[in-house]
Amino acid sequence: MIIPTFLTSLLGPFLGPLAWMVLKIIAIILPLLGAIAYLTYAERKVMAAMQRRRGPNAIGPFGLLQPIADGLKLLGKETIIPTGANKLLFIFAPLLTFTLALAAWAVVPFEQGVVLADINVGVLYLFAISSLSVYGIILAGWASNSKYAFLGGMRAAAQMISYEVSIGLIIVTVLLKAGSLNLSHIVEAQRQGWFAFGLLFPMFILFFISGLAETNRNPFDLPEGESELVGGFNTEYSSMTFALFFLGEYANMILISAMTSILFLGGWLPPVAWLSFIPGFIWFFAKIALCLFVFLWVRATLPRYRYDQLMRIGWKVFLPLSLLWVVVTAGYLVASGTLPHTGG
């Protein structure tokens, strides 16, 4: 590694590694922001194609500059803070949402050994971050001092907590099979076969659906159900504060897709061994793109759930099923003697 040694010699033993770390963070965040911007474009194009429209096509070739135009427009708008709002929390909520959506990427392994922080409990970190993101929404709803926003925030809180329970249990089944909480180890454990195909296939489906609910996407986008709640929790937000929520939502979509790829689709591993000449991160990005496409596909296809249906499916279907599958997986692994070896 030539750059860190150069930086250390340039800036000294303390600032040098620090600068290197900042560079690495920027190297993750900048492409991520680009991906978020073009995910909005992809969403509009994909949905347009599914509905036999053209989608954005006026700005730039094939409308490729549309996200930039949208971003500039939002930047130029005035930020309106409602009179009755709690100013500090009103501004803090979108910042929190966006920061958390970015912070989660610290532990995501892009390729063997290419990860910002290779921590032992990477899965728990991701889970903790995704369970924190509810605060952005609930605070936005409360601080807006508006009943629509408040109802949206309450719905989001109830929904996200409900689905987190089953996501946690689904992750437990993966951990049972992988025998580690480290994301890189989980990917490595899938060399013999991706977890999505095999015993954990039902959990793969459940995880993806719970991911839709966790990111408040269709068909579970009740927190912002415009037919009854105007805009939901972000009713009162405008300009960049709104944009941060919007970007946070898309960043969370990418994150859930990345989690699906890591936990079930073998992360950076190629599907068959002879394809391993293609670099791992390309496989990883391809898998994320596939999951994202399904996200958009679902949005263009399915109608919104009713709130009681959403709650029933979470607590009465997903939770018992995932609990059952924890027992089944553990039983199978012990009975067949394939439980990953314990001990350090």
């Binding site: 728990l124 903790a128 924190l132 609930i138 408040f150 309450m154 109830a158 907590i161 987190e164 029933r312």
Partner: protein
């Protein structure tokens, strides 16, 4: 050096936000300061190398318990003026309880001694990461206490549900099993209606 700096940062913010939990006027702010408390406690756990505990604290307390707190507190209709009026009335009793508690804490703190053995317990659990070490302990040596505490929580949960569950009459509910059980023959009849006669309301002969 950095770790002790971080310790004082986390501990300082922890104490300050704990004070603010009690002192904050707005109950929602109080809950938010409580969340800040949890965060800093998680930071302290991380500094001690107990990453599993730190993240479980974040997931369980910050991610679930505090959300429910916030949920309830936001829904409550708290009249601050009335609370301030009653403050004076409850001051003597509350003050007395606080004084006694403080005195007990001070007495306890004066009698505090650190077991020299406690300091020499090795942090690292012979090469295991601390998730495995904790799991090993909980499911072997402390299996029964662990299960019993689980049962106590279960009892509390069942109790809370039975206390608050009420079935109201006249509420329309969707019963999916019943909907799916219906057959065409039960709900649909096909009549051949003769022209000019219509159909009678009488049930089938």
């Amino acid at each position: 050096m950095i770790s002790s700096l971080l310790f004082y940062l986390f501990a300082g913010v922890l104490l300050a936000s704990a004070t603010m939990v009690v002192a904050a006027r707005n109950p929602v702010h109080a809950v938010l300061f409580l969340i800040l408390c949890f965060f800093n406690a998680a930071g302290l756990f991380l500094l001690m190398g107990a990453e599993f505990l730190a993240f479980i604290l974040m997931i369980v307390y910050v991610g679930a318990v505090a959300v429910l707190f916030l949920f309830v507190v936001m829904m409550l209709d708290i009249n601050l003026r009335r609370m301030r009026q009653e403050f004076k009335r409850h001051l003597p009793l509350g003050g007395a309880v606080a004084l006694i508690l403080a005195a007990q804490l001070v007495l306890l703190a004066m009698a505090w001694k650190t077991d020299p053995k406690a300091l020499s317990v090795p942090m690292a659990t012979n090469g295991l990461d601390n998730t495995r070490a904790l799991g090993g302990l909980l499911y072997t040596q402390y299996f029964y206490p662990f299960q019993v505490s689980g049962f106590i929580l279960l009892v509390a949960m069942v109790g809370a549900i039975t206390l608050t569950l009420r079935t109201r009459k006249g509420v329309l509910r969707q019963n999916v099993t019943r909907q799916l059980d219906r057959s065409v023959a039960e709900v649909l009849e096909i009549h051949k209606v003769p022209i000019g006669q219509g159909i009678s309301d009488d049930p089938k002969p």
